[in-house]
Amino acid sequence: MEIELQEISDFLISIHPFENLPQAIIERLIKKINIRYIRRDTSFSEKLKTPERLYLLRKGAVSLLSDNNQLLGKLGEGDICTAFCHIEEDVKFTIKVEEDTLVYTIECQAIANILQDYPEQLSFLQKKSNRHFKQDLFNVQETNTLASSLMNTQISDIMHHFVATAEQSTSIRDAAVIMSSNNVSSLIILDQKEVVGILTDKDITRRCIAQDVSTSQSVKQIMTNNIISASAHSNAFEVMMTMTRKQIRHLPIIDEEELLGIISVTDLLRLEGRNSVYITNAISKADSIEEIQESCQIIPQLQLQSVHMGASADHIGKIITAISTAVTRRLIKLAEDKLGEAPVPYAWLAAGSHARREQSSHSDQDNALIISDKMKPEDDEWFAALAKFVCDGLNQCGYVYCPGDVMATNPKWRQPAKKWSEYFINWIKTPSPKALMYSSIFFDLRSLYGDNQLLADVREKMLKLSPKNDLFLAHLSFNALKLKPPLGFFRDFVLIHDGKHNDTLDLKHNGLAPIVDLARIYALSEGISEINTIERLKRVRGSRSLSSEGADDLLDSLEFISSLRMKHQAQQINIGAETNNFMAPVELSKLERSHLKDTFKVIQTLQNYLEMRYKIG
């Protein structure tokens, strides 16, 4: 091929499923590409051509709409549109060009010919086109349920009626003063009474300070013109979609050229928070497992939407955990209704990520029961029945059975308080490899229901004991250090185009688990009772166990890897796939790659410190 078309080749191999194809095949594909430019707000279908073609968006954005104007999907840079590959008679749709768009088109038949020896790639494209509409329609329905509260909310009900404004001749410095004295992060810029731009605190940082522009200049120099606005009559969902797509955080509300108010992403996030509250409420009122199950189906969409809105992984983890807790509590209630009152006091315990409030939509169940020491042997029958009911119910609601059998249905983890204390004392005083496997689960325990004091007493004893036991901490560290961040992954990364390496990165075990383990060890060695990883790191920050810099680095790393995982799962949810933690390297941008590498180095450094401290190996 002409080496001069390198940019097109680079673009093509950055898109799945073209990334691992040999250069010769890529060159043949490129020869079949035609390039078109479509202006914003034109309809695509009128330009539709036979034979059937596949579209690759090189730049811009388009929306696919059903015949009743329901949004089926949005496509952006690097997205493949197979909508025209199998035009089905019964599916009516239109394509709306949202931004000026540069597309590459290839005849479907030509692709089929060129990829005939690459069934995997070909079937991906064909499957994608077959599944497309049904799947998208299904997704729309799910999103709609979730979005209904957003859809039923008029922007005028939630916007801020007070808007800080300034004339365009105002100096940047004066604008900053207006912003800070009104405690706002954005300023609408006017020319007489007409809205001509918007200025945010970020603009001041990026376009003024970072570029060495004098603050005595007028705001006109650094404001964003061509601002996008919404009508006060639009609903919150539409506005959210616009803001997500355009990646803007503030939107003025204008009707008939009159500035009525302003809305920020935070306002919408708050509304979305009510959404999860609404789900939690519905769960706590459910009368059957089936009803709970129905409410749970929305969790993946909730995660997806939160990711789209830019919520932090920590925030999403807490929302999802709140729902899991509601589900567990409701199931216990239903069990108690069925089984009668408990013979003695008890508490239902969540372990692992649920206890740490770090769940994502596909988490499995880890739980246990702690029972009052007054328990008689025959009482266990009641608790066994409770455990079976709740664990089966959780499984039915999508929290699959724990593969390691860490569940209340296991008699070992359904014990009176004194037995739990014994367990902990044993794990700490005579650490064995197997004991330590459990410790990573059971040192993160939270009481969800019942007599919370039962667990509190056991944990208090345990936390007094653990900091003094260097041997235990050393063993625990030894175990934790088995999970190393895969720095070698980046070597493979370079080789990924040779087609042999289809490695994926396990974000949970190679990324999150080492940080969670480190935080647990620091917390135990400092005798700190927090369970959530972020809270643990904040508490041990600047202690004997962890410097403040180390803690800050780990907190950043945690947020970064968690957000990668949330994004990865959001993509899977989006295409209707099962979610998992395995991220293919192609999903990462170059920037993310280098950031991830730095993150792994942080983890490795802190693991090395730990190793030296307990002189392991």
Partner: protein
């Protein structure tokens, strides 16, 4: 503008009568597209040269890149790029820009062969370039040396189209805004590495599609409305 085209056609016929047999005569024997043809029916060749400098009399063409536009679609199958093995050593400051070294150059083809192929590709088409004086002067000068006669060809210049568009607006613009890559940026087109004849030809072709969409998005304007 129409008279200008009549000038084109008349001049083509006059030159054809005088042209010596060979590539130039073959080129001139194909009529130019009718200026009344809608643009989407006009065969267009986007073209770019890399040169050793800016003076057609003393500098030489280093490489040629071109690509066809048909019905407002750029056909990558038609992408063509060729380096010419020019005489003499290259100036260092030039090498930095066009990235063609003496080594690559020595693997190039002779200028006669490249121009012959180029004329063949150009025949019967409207020629699309960004800032036409360079391509026009260099091609005419080289043909004069090779065939003793300079050809004429209908030119569409994206710089002129963009300038017309910007002139109609009230706001001021700087000459810098008219550079290929700045115009592309203003249409949100992707960034390509500058200064390679083919990728510049492609960049010009994409810019042309964008400019036409802005000019008259509903119907296809005739060729004459964009001829320089």
């Amino acid at each position: 503008m129409l008279s200008q085209w009549f000038g084109y056609e008349a001049k083509r016929k006059r030159l054809l009568a005088k042209a010596p047999p060979g590539p130039l005569r073959d080129f001139l024997s194909v009529p130019f597209p009718d200026p009344k043809t809608p643009l989407n029916k006009t065969p267009i060749l986007a073209m770019d040269f890399e040169t050793t400098g800016l003076n057609a009399k003393t500098d030489q063409i280093l490489s040629v890149g071109h690509i066809c536009i048909d019905s407002f679609e750029i056909l990558l199958s038609s992408a063509y790029h060729q380096v010419i093995c020019t005489q003499g050593e290259l100036k260092e400051e030039g090498v930095i820009i066009h990235q063609i070294t003496d080594d690559t150059k020595s693997q190039g083809q002779k200028v006669e062969a490249v121009i012959e192929k180029l004329l063949y590709a150009m025949a019967g088409k409207a020629i699309l370039v960004h800032f036409s004086p360079i391509e026009k002067n260099f091609l005419q000068h080289t043909c004069k040396q090779l065939y003793g006669m300079a050809p004429i060809f209908p030119i569409i210049d994206t710089l002129m189209i963009a300038r017309k568009r910007l002139d109609q607006r009230t706001s001021l613009y700087s000459p810098n805004d008219l550079r290929l890559f700045n115009l592309r940026d203003s249409h949100k087109l992707p960034r390509y590495k500058a200064h390679n004849a083919l990728s510049d030809a492609l960049a010009t072709a994409e810019l042309f599609l964008a400019e036409i969409e802005y000019k008259q998005p509903k119907k296809s304007p005739p060729l004459k409305s964009v001829l320089s």
